[in-house]
Symmetry: C2
Subunit: 401 residues, 2 copies
């Protein structure tokens, strides 16, 4: 190893105390915030988001958004969806497939056209209203999954429909991203062949991972079972989860979709209870990191109605928040089953996140969206993220487990 190869090690030692302190602060913010929220009968995740915001870049500035912390946060999201998958019965999940599909489709179409029309009505032209519409389409399932998991409500039909719709939503988001990126490249338009390829790959991944995994998971675990090494079983399960997350990412889907698929597959094995128990202990530490880091990047001043900078765009903000909420509430109408709360399903689909921001970033990078519009997108993300957990908690209290 040449001495240059050693520079990361030396750098690490310099950055180490900063990293360890950030991690301690993040976990502290998670616990204090979560506990405080629960005292006010709010979901813990709201406290984690606010705790993150307080220690984060825009308020106290104690924790910066560094790459290692972001990657650790993503590991947290992967643990969350892996756990959720492990608690989901595949057969029951597929039973609500049609409703999930309809919910996802309505939840993409209504916000898209609503956003497009609102932007158009406010005088925007060209590709801009299309981009604005696209940023409103994607559901970020993390918040909902977390609240339902904490409430022990993952096994309700409402939850299964939301999870299924979120998976389909991610595939649709991928398609919209290819279309929108194609639109914005210099007049070349988008290639239908590329979009068909993207869809087929995504479908092949979802079906393939579940069908093949269903086939192979039990024999593989049986082969691993007799190995004596400590932690062999749940580490093997986690490796499987990482590989599917990575594959999902390569195809263009969110890594958490792969983690969810991995959980679904392993849920059917005999060892699922043991795996879940061990995975939960690691999830306890990493999952709050995801939500606190989400909070760290939030800028509360965006929400300040007295800030003159917000006035100029406030009409657009209000319009888009209304569209974002109403569009996903409408998606609940896609539920075919009786005695399922369409309102609860619709609320579960409200949070926007990463994918919407990726659309906005793409538009920004290509000069279609300006900074003010980008900030509007952020406001939509922040508001939909913060209002959902209390609503979900109130609605799901009445849903039978």
């Amino acid at each position: 190893m040449p001495p240059e190869g050693d520079s990361p090690r030396v750098m690490i030692l310099m950055e180490m105390s900063q990293f360890l302190l950030s991690l301690a602060l993040i976990l502290l913010a998670a616990k204090v915030g979560g506990r405080t929220a629960e005292r006010f009968h709010q979901p813990a995740v709201v406290g984690e988001l606010i705790g993150g915001m307080l220690i984060g870049t825009h308020v106290l500035g104690l924790v910066r958004e560094t790459e290692p912390l972001h990657l650790l946060a993503e590991i947290g999201a992967i643990f969350l969806l892996f756990e959720v998958g492990l608690e989901t019965d595949l057969d029951e999940f597929l039973q609500v497939g049609k409703s999930a599909f309809l919910v996802a489709i309505i939840g993409v179409i209504v916000p898209f056209f609503g956003g497009y029309l609102a932007a158009h009505a406010l005088g925007m032209e060209g590709l801009l209203p299309i981009f604005i519409g696209a940023t409103l389409t994607a559901t970020s399932v993390g918040i909902t999954a977390r609240v339902l998991s904490d409430m022990g409500k993952l096994r309700t039909r409402e939850s299964r429909i939301i999870l299924g719709a979120a998976v389909i939503d991610d595939v649709l988001g991928l398609l919209i991203l290819s279309i929108v990126s194609g639109l914005s490249s210099d007049g070349s338009g988008f290639s239908m062949a590329a979009i068909v390829k993207t869809s087929l790959l995504a479908l092949a991944f979802l079906l393939g991972s579940v069908i093949l995994g269903n086939w192979l998971a039990q024999p593989l675990l049986r082969a691993i079972g007799p190995m004596q090494s400590r932690g062999m079983l749940h580490i093997s399960a986690f490796i499987f989860c990482l590989l599917l997350a990575c594959l999902a990412r390569i195809i263009g889907l969110a890594p958490i979709i792969g983690a969810f698929a991995a959980g679904l597959v392993l849920a059917k094995t005999e060892e699922s209870a043991h795996i879940r128990e061990k995975i939960e202990a690691s999830g306890d530490i990493t999952i709050p990191i995801f939500f606190v880091m989400m909070g760290v990047s939030l800028d509360p001043s965006l929400l300040n109605p007295f800030d003159p900078a917000s006035h100029a765009v406030m009409l657009l903000e209000i319009a888009l928040i209304l569209v974002a909420v109403a569009g996903k509430l409408a998606s609940g109408l896609g539920v075919l089953e009786k005695r399922v709360s369409r309102l609860a399903v619709g609320v579960g689909m409200i949070p926007r996140g990463e994918v919407g921001l990726i659309f906005a970033s793409t538009g920004l990078a290509r000069g279609i969206i300006d900074r003010a519009d980008y900030a509007v997108t952020l406001v939509v993300v922040v508001v939909t993220t913060l209002i959902t957990p209390p609503l979900l908690k109130a609605l799901f209290r009445r849903v039978r487990g």
Copy 2:
């Protein structure tokens, strides 16, 4: 949040699949390597090191040494020493304090002068032999702690003496580093006041964390106990561990010393069994990352006796390895207790690691050590790391638990 603030998020999405794949490969190398080593009746950690070497920078090149992976590896080391601390009885630990102190002192003095004399005899002059001697002084306790933990032998007196000596060794290493760094700055020499300050800080940290922690841990845990939030107890314990690790690092000690101190303190609380069980599940995933990443940076070609590049320095390499091994074996003579294997204690002190490399890097940066000498230090680290686990396993099989 300005759009620039978004760049880490976009970068993350680009790097995400690479990171997830690296993580999956690291855990796979750990499990396959560890299992293979165990089949040959070797400690799992040897297989993890070799597995890491194979997927690492110098062989297959599948996993690169990136900052996030290094930080994750350090978290693994922190989990390891936290677990070891949780399994250590403070009173029993302090009972062997005198022996630990003598072992540490002998284990620093003998390798230092041995290395100095060997380098001098081979024609080195000026500060160089002093630096060479200094690189041989520091014990890297990770390997030994892991082997003893896997064997369930942490509660033997031999183990307690090794752990205690490793803690003292880290303090001594800190002092040597200040002296050696002082020597190498432009003639200014070293400041006795700075060294006294460093020692007092280190001692204050060790005593303070144990005494104060002893006092506060139980009341604090009792205050946390009634909180209902999932995972509250072990996360609080882990936050405490991170804070002490960070504090240790700020003072100049290794973060793992802080983690060990945190474990020691919490070991006395009523909840220690529960904390340990939960922490072990996370340790199962993170600890192997530490050892695999240690392997990732190893260059097996350094050990190739047929490589002409090694010939020039082979005499020095052999001499220093002999000194490194003999010097720490001699440290076992510091054991005062009867019916304690001095050989087992000495072998447990053999592995060199980070601290030795930091000395060498410092010397390299200041132009005292050249690249060939630096490579020699690496060889000493590699050899002492690889020979220790099998020796420990053979020796501790006979030590009563």
